[in-house]
């Protein structure tokens, strides 16, 4: 079947900006791990949809704000993560959990704001939800309930899996020269590992194409009919996120550090979760987890922030940094194999490029395309 996605969806700056407004801003987006925010004054900063965001712990309460001091637009927190009060280092303005300044040094002497102006000073706040160990934010002024984006079963599943994460987190960012959508079309494609990862991941996990014939038939029956009522819109949206045990592993080697962690589940399976639109979690056998967050930067650039954790420790052990390091080095090989393919595709795309030809096994991508384009064309809105 002919993909409905035009090449402009991957290469056009105007499309990219509309996508931020119409598609990303109304959706709940992953922003970080709760374990990195578990102390009073712990914070993380990220840039989502071009907006600088800070998530800060105020005595156990997580709040998300625009990371931009209302005085002179300096970032209030300048590091990617840390433990520090929400205080701007430029002129010492401190902020409380409502986002209003609770301390303006020399306020009476130097600033002398009229009361009505003083009352308006506050950081822009964003909605925040935590599901297990996963922190999501929504940039809309009128966010949809998170349960309308993710189904109840899926929320339970990612809560259970993320509750198994250990608090020692390894993170890095891969700078992909490719559109973020290519990453997810690839992640939903169970047919590529035997070729792209023939000597790496596929040696351990024999991914196979299994066509959900009922799902395929339902997709084909969609035809061109308008699907713009809210119930159908959110029902379709919820179907895009799924996960759990994916494929049996050939073998789960008994590494000595396995004894030090509380294994998630008891299956020798490769676990896979896709939280629409841009979060991927995977685990080999429930002993460790990779959490990939693809942050769009421009039509042809995506920052893939990778968090690596083991399952929760039963006890501390000295070599835990070495375990995380070894896993990250191994993961890098597989990630690079995917990134190389995506970057090659991106390089070839041009405004007149022919659309992709999807096979039946790719109907999930086809279904998402339909919904995505309905959003981008303004046929449906959240």
């Amino acid at each position: 079947m002919l993909s409905r996605m035009p090449p402009q969806a991957y290469i056009d700056q105007g499309w990219f900006e509309r996508e931020r407004e119409l598609f990303f801003k109304p959706l709940w987006q992953f922003i970080g791990l709760k374990t990195m925010l578990s102390q009073h004054n712990a914070f993380i900063t990220r840039t989502l949809c071009g907006l600088p965001i800070v998530v800060q712990n105020f005595n156990g309460e997580l709040r998300a704000f625009e990371n931009l001091c209302v005085h002179r637009q300096n970032p209030v927190q300048t590091l990617a993560n840390g433990v520090r009060p929400l205080v701007c280092s430029y002129h010492g303005w401190g902020y409380g959990q409502d986002g209003a300044p609770d301390n303006i040094p020399f306020e009476a002497e130097a600033f002398r704001y009229p009361p009505e102006e003083r009352a308006c000073l506050h950081l822009r706040r964003f909605a925040l939800e935590t599901i297990g160990n996963l922190v999501f934010i929504n940039l809309s002024s009128n966010p949809i309930p998170i349960g309308e984006q993710f189904g109840a079963d899926f929320l339970t599943s990612i809560q259970e899996c993320s509750d198994a994460f250990d608090g020692e987190v390894m993170l890095t960012t891969f700078k992909m020269q490719a559109n973020w959508k290519l990453a997810y079309e690839n992640l939903r494609d169970a047919h590529h590992p035997r070729y792209v990862h023939a000597r790496s991941l596929y040696q351990k996990v024999k991914f196979e194409v299994n066509i959900d014939e009922a799902g395929l038939a339902a997709f084909k029956n969609l035809g061109d009919s308008a699907l713009n009522d809210r119930g159908t819109t959110t029902s379709r949206l919820r179907s895009f996120s799924n996960g759990g045990p994916d494929t049996p592993m050939k073998e789960v080697l008994p590494f000595s550090w396995h004894d030090n962690v509380e294994r998630y589940g008891n299956k020798n399976w490769y676990y896979n979760w896709l939280a629409f639109p841009n979060l991927h979690i995977a685990s080999g056998g429930g002993y460790s987890f990779i959490i990939e967050h693809h942050i769009p930067v421009s039509p042809d650039r995506t920052d893939m922030m990778v968090h690596y954790v083991t399952a929760k420790k039963k006890r501390r052990y000295a070599a835990s940094p070495a375990v995380l390091h070894a896993h990250m080095m191994g993961a890098e090989r597989v990630l690079r194999e995917d990134i190389d393919v995506m970057q090659n595709i991106q390089k070839q795309l041009h405004p007149g490029a022919p659309s992709a030809r999807l096979g039946d096994y790719e109907f999930a991508n086809g279904s998402i395309e339909r919904w995505y384009l309905d959003v981008m064309e303004g046929k449906i809105a959240l």
């Binding site: 374990t35 925010l37 433990v83 020692e168 993170l171 890095t172 000595s256 390091h325 990250m328 890098e332």
Partner: protein, 207 residues
């Protein structure tokens, strides 16, 4: 006759045997090949046949798992009661006021300045230049040719790769791996990893 077990595998074991032969021709050397399985577990049964009885030992293993494998091997040998004197290769210049821990290896042509403290199980590669008053923690791996400025502090289990230069007084926290050639002029926090194949640093965060 004085004897020494040299335990390891591959080229590093061969190299350690040759180095000890050169350093101490009168020493009876007994190579012990130690393999690991697919899950990276050592076959430690080969150590059961080693007899201390005045013999010393040397663990020749690379920087696998941030040098924990070499440390694990050294620990097993210490458990068995072996003394593990440092290996200082010919041509290395180690200042008389420097201190070297057990199972340290100083490669040919390396310079270790006055007042340096080199922790146990640390490898200083050939031609490395360690400035005066440096403190290098246990189980570090300093690749051949690395330059470390005076009074620098290198944490335990750190790996410094080819072409790395550490500035004077710079501190590198424990468990770091710096494998990008160039000069480091600012302190590096513990558990920071710089690899040329990665676009950004890799960091470990734990509250």
């Amino acid at each position: 006759m004085r004897s020494k077990y040299v335990i390891g595998n591959g080229a590093l074991l061969d190299w350690a045997m040759a180095a000890w032969r050169e350093v101490d021709p009168g020493l009876e050397l007994r190579p012990v090949k130690l393999d690991q399985d697919a899950a990276y577990a050592f076959d430690l049964s080969v150590l059961d046949n080693l007899i201390v009885d005045g013999a010393t030992a040397f663990a020749a293993y690379d920087d696998q798992f941030l040098n924990f494998r070499r440390f694990e091997l050294m620990a097993k040998l210490k458990e068995r009661g072996f003394s593990m004197p440092a290996l200082v290769c010919p041509g290395a210049l180690v200042a008389s006021t420097a201190s070297l821990g057990e199972n340290v290896m100083i490669g040919a042509g390396a310079i270790v300045g006055h007042g340096c403290q080199i922790g146990f199980n640390t490898v200083i590669g050939s031609g490395a230049n360690i400035g005066s008053a440096c403190r290098i923690g246990n189980s570090a791996w300093i690749e051949a040719g690395v330059v470390i400025g005076r009074a620098a502090k290198i944490g335990a289990n750190v790996t410094l790769g080819t072409g790395v230069i550490i500035g004077d007084t710079v501190e590198v926290g424990k468990f770091c791996a710096i494998d990008v050639a160039g000069k480091i002029t600012k302190n590096i926090a513990a558990k920071t990893f710089l690899h040329a194949s990665f676009d950004t640093s890799i960091n470990i965060v734990e509250l």
